[in-house]
């Protein structure tokens, strides 16, 4: 095969007749040195077709340059990823790295460096720790090259870090915080003074790409009554900001919709046995138990002891997104069968069925995580990928290493197309304006997407 002319290839690239990837491959065959290939690409803005399909999401038409002549921008993330949080946190980090690599580790003329910070401590089985939350936030704030802070996973942790990043004028974006009070006020579910107490400067700097719990609790309660046909609920929560918040919303809406709330109590997440608790709940005669908790707060054991005295045929188990992970199913073993979980979005299987960027994301994250063709990446990793897209596109639009400009661009995200193909914009409070709540059920030991609940 005759060699192509270098000038011809460059011309084709500029005319968008070939992609950057094709250019790189063919230029190598034509004998162009790696350095020259880099120089050509550096001055050429990346087009959508250059990016892997998953990376074509976000605000349509946003350009992407891999030029790094303006310097380096640092991004930190903070969530737990060891011990009990190894799977959830680890998958989210891998999705974040994948996104960054999809965008060529660059945006807006800057090289992008990313460093994940662990928010968990060994003494707490890897769960988040307030001291680490503060330490990580301060580390990002004090690094002048840091332009955005990704995280956190736990809403309680965000309640600590958001006021810190707020004072520093640093944009913070979460892939998993769902407690309503972080962004909005919701009667019955948020505390007095929220969310203003998290924003000492009076200016918002925090946003999240996942639906908040007042949406999730609301959808779950309506589904329980109108679709699942339940009327008597007993509600438990792990006493965390997240667990209590989502449980309170569920209780409120369940009662509003005509259901009877038999109890709404906290439980001790460190206990090893809940037989007595479940015996007393069974005695109250509920037909649904709602557990507001994250998987690291012993919810699997709670379900095991529930099934010891209440069968899946008689009493529905419903939990929020904090339980939407294989860790929960494996921990509860046989008892998990038939359990229902709400989740703000779509499962990996649903994304594959939808095709397009979502399917591309799932295929590649499975490969990176060595999950095989059917393994389930953690559901929240999707949001970790999307939140990184928000940050990179904001840097692209801002075109400057300026915290305020990048924050404005992030907050101004409009018409963002997700991996599932839905579209949202951030509202004034930093929440997405078009949340979708998915319904997941454990079938044959696998978290299986059942459809949407709202």
């Amino acid at each position: 095969m005759a060699r192509e002319s270098i000038a011809g290839l460059i011309a084709q690239l500029h005319q968008s007749k070939i992609t950057r990837r094709e250019f790189t491959q063919r230029a190598a065959v034509a004998g162009l040195s790696a350095g020259l290939v880099g120089n050509v690409l550096a001055v050429h803005a990346a087009k959508a077709q250059d990016l892997p399909e998953a990376a074509t999401i976000g605000i349509p038409g946003t350009p992407h340059t891999t030029d790094t002549s303006k310097g380096t921008i640092k991004l930190y993330s903070s969530w737990p990823f060891t011990g009990a949080m190894e799977r959830i946190g680890g998958h989210a980090i891998e999705a974040t790295y994948m996104c960054l690599e999809d965008f060529g580790n660059a945006a807006g003329g800057f090289a992008i460096e990313y460093e994940p910070l662990d928010e968990g401590i060994a003494a707490n089985e890897g769960r988040w720790d307030p001291g680490k939350a503060t330490e990580n936030a301060n580390r990002a704030i004090n690094d002048e090259s840091c332009m955005a802070y990704l995280g956190t996973y736990n809403s309680g942790s965000a309640a600590i870090s958001v006021p810190l990043t707020n004072v520093a004028g640093l944009a913070q974006i979460s892939f998993a915080n769902t407690y309503p009070g972080l962004t909005t006020s919701f009667e019955g579910a948020t505390e007095e003074g929220e969310p203003d107490l998290y924003y000492p400067t009076g200016t918002r700097n925090y946003m999240r790409v996942c639906p908040a719990d007042h949406v999730q609790g609301d959808a779950g309660a309506r589904w329980a009554i109108h679709e699942n046909g339940r009327s008597k609920a007993y509600i438990l929560h792990d006493n965390s900001l997240y667990g209590k918040g989502v449980a309170n919303v569920f209780a409120l809406i369940f009662a509003q919709e005509g259901g009877e709330v038999l109890g709404n109590d906290g439980y001790d997440p460190r206990a090893s046995d809940y037989q007595s608790l479940m015996t007393s709940i069974a005695d109250a005669g509920p037909d649904i138990i709602y557990v507001g908790a994250t998987v690291d707060n012993n919810a699997a054991k709670l379900l095991q002891d529930m099934r010891g005295v209440m069968s899946a045929d008689d009493v529905t188990f419903l939990g929020p997104d904090g339980l939407n992970t294989d860790t929960f199913v494996q921990g509860a073993a046989d008892a998990a069968e038939g359990a229902w979980i709400t989740f703000g979005g779509f499962s990996a299987d649903a994304l594959v069925e939808l095709g397009g960027p979502g399917a591309d994301y799932v295929a590649r994250i499975r490969e990176r995580l060595d999950l095989g063709e059917t393994g389930q990446p953690d559901s929240y990793a999707v949001y970790a990928y999307e939140s990184m897209v928000v940050v990179l596109q904001a840097i692209e639009r801002a075109g400057a290493a300026d915290r305020t400009a990048i924050l404005d661009q992030m907050f101004g995200t409009e018409g963002f197309v997700t991996l599932a193909g839905t579209t949202w914009s951030f509202n004034d409070e930093g929440d997405i304006d078009n949340p979708v709540i998915g319904l997941i059920r454990v079938v044959d030991g696998v978290l299986t997407f059942q459809g949407t609940a709202n």
Partner: protein, 341 residues
């Protein structure tokens, strides 16, 4: 006054809902037996070296993980016959006892023995350090997530009610084979321990060391050996408790030793630390208090505690510890038994 009201409420509850009350007691006794086994390790070591071995809860946890590993290694499943299942269970029990003994002995050999004459705070801090080390080792060994044990008990027996199936009783009270097994394994171990301490030469040497270490040494007793045996026996009991716990609660996780360990320590103190019978009594008291607090207290007395929830159980149990310390610092049996260990 509050305690009197509480007692009246509980008595009324037992009268009003006897079956429900009995169910809580059964759950409490089974959990209490587990706590008692762990508490014996605390009290045995304290009795002989006056050290609160805060790593003991984690020794129990490591026993649970080892039991899981042994059963998984044998590859035994519930399709096998009862004899094979029983053999695997006994192997796991003995294996976890030996494993936990080795860990406890190792900790003493590596650290505590060197600190025999150091200020009391030194071995105490050391024990806390070992507690964290063992937790981390468990995380590296098996991961941080809860693990379900390999099936050793056919699933139909997990919800099997002995009262209905064996005795044909029409009752809501449920005693499962597992509830019975916890008590039936625990009680012989306790009797064996009593016999060992009271009747054997080694037991007598341990009691002598507990009474006066220097005098025991002058009488030709190998004090270090006696102390090592206390750690070995305490570890074996923790290992047995680990094996029982992993099948009784049907899961194991690196943090399981923390809460059980604290409850067991409380049981040892409430019963009278250093006193074997006291540890057992304390274990049952804590187990039953835990069970009643989780379930019964909310409804009785008279619904006055309707705001109560299971999240208050640790506060109640540690409240018991504080009350015991204030009104009876030596614990329930602390003064009635002349001899320690």
């Amino acid at each position: 006054m509050l305690l009197v009201l509480l007692a009246i409420g509980l008595i009324y509850g037992a009268y009003d809902r006897p079956e429900l009350f009995a169910q809580y007691i059964i759950i409490g006794v089974a959990n209490g037996a587990l706590i008692a086994l762990i508490a014996l390790g605390y009290t045995l070591v304290y009795g002989i070296v006056e050290l609160i071995n805060f790593a003991h809860g984690e020794v129990f946890m490591m026993g649970a993980y080892f039991a899981l590993t042994v059963v998984a290694t044998t590859g035994v499943t519930t399709e096998k016959g009862w004899l094979i299942l029983a053999a695997a269970a006994i192997l796991a029990l003995l294996g976890s006892m030996v494993f936990s003994s080795a860990i406890n002995w190792g900790i003493d050999r590596v650290a505590y023995r060197r600190l025999r004459h150091a200020p009391r705070l030194a071995p105490l801090i050391c024990a806390i350090g070992f507690s964290f080390i063992l937790q981390q080792m468990a995380v590296y060994w098996k991961g941080g997530n809860p693990l379900s044990p390999p099936a050793l008990i056919p699933s139909e027996y997990r919800a099997y009610n002995i009262l209905q199936e064996w005795f044909g009783l029409e009752t809501r009270i449920r005693i499962r084979p597992l509830d019975l097994a916890v008590v039936l394994i625990t009680i012989p171990l306790l009797i064996l321990l009593q016999w060992f301490i009271q009747r054997t030469r080694t037991g007598k040497a341990m009691r002598a060391t507990a009474q006066d270490r220097d005098a025991a040494a002058l009488m030709g007793i190998d004090v270090n050996r006696a102390i090592s045996i206390a750690f070995i026996v305490g570890g074996a009991l923790a290992g047995a408790a680990g094996m029982i716990a992993v099948y009784y609660i049907n899961s194991a996780r690196p943090g399981m030793g923390f809460r059980y360990g604290l409850y067991a320590f409380t049981a040892a103190v409430v019963g009278g630390i250093g006193n074997l019978n006291g540890a057992v009594i304390g274990g049952f008291i804590i187990g039953i208090a835990w069970s009643l607090s989780d379930g019964f207290l909310k409804t009785y007395p008279g619904g006055h505690f309707s705001w109560w929830g299971a999240q208050w159980t640790p506060a109640l149990i540690f409240g018991l510890l504080v009350v015991t310390m204030v009104f009876r610092p030596s614990g329930i049996l602390g003064e009635t038994t002349a001899e320690k260990v």
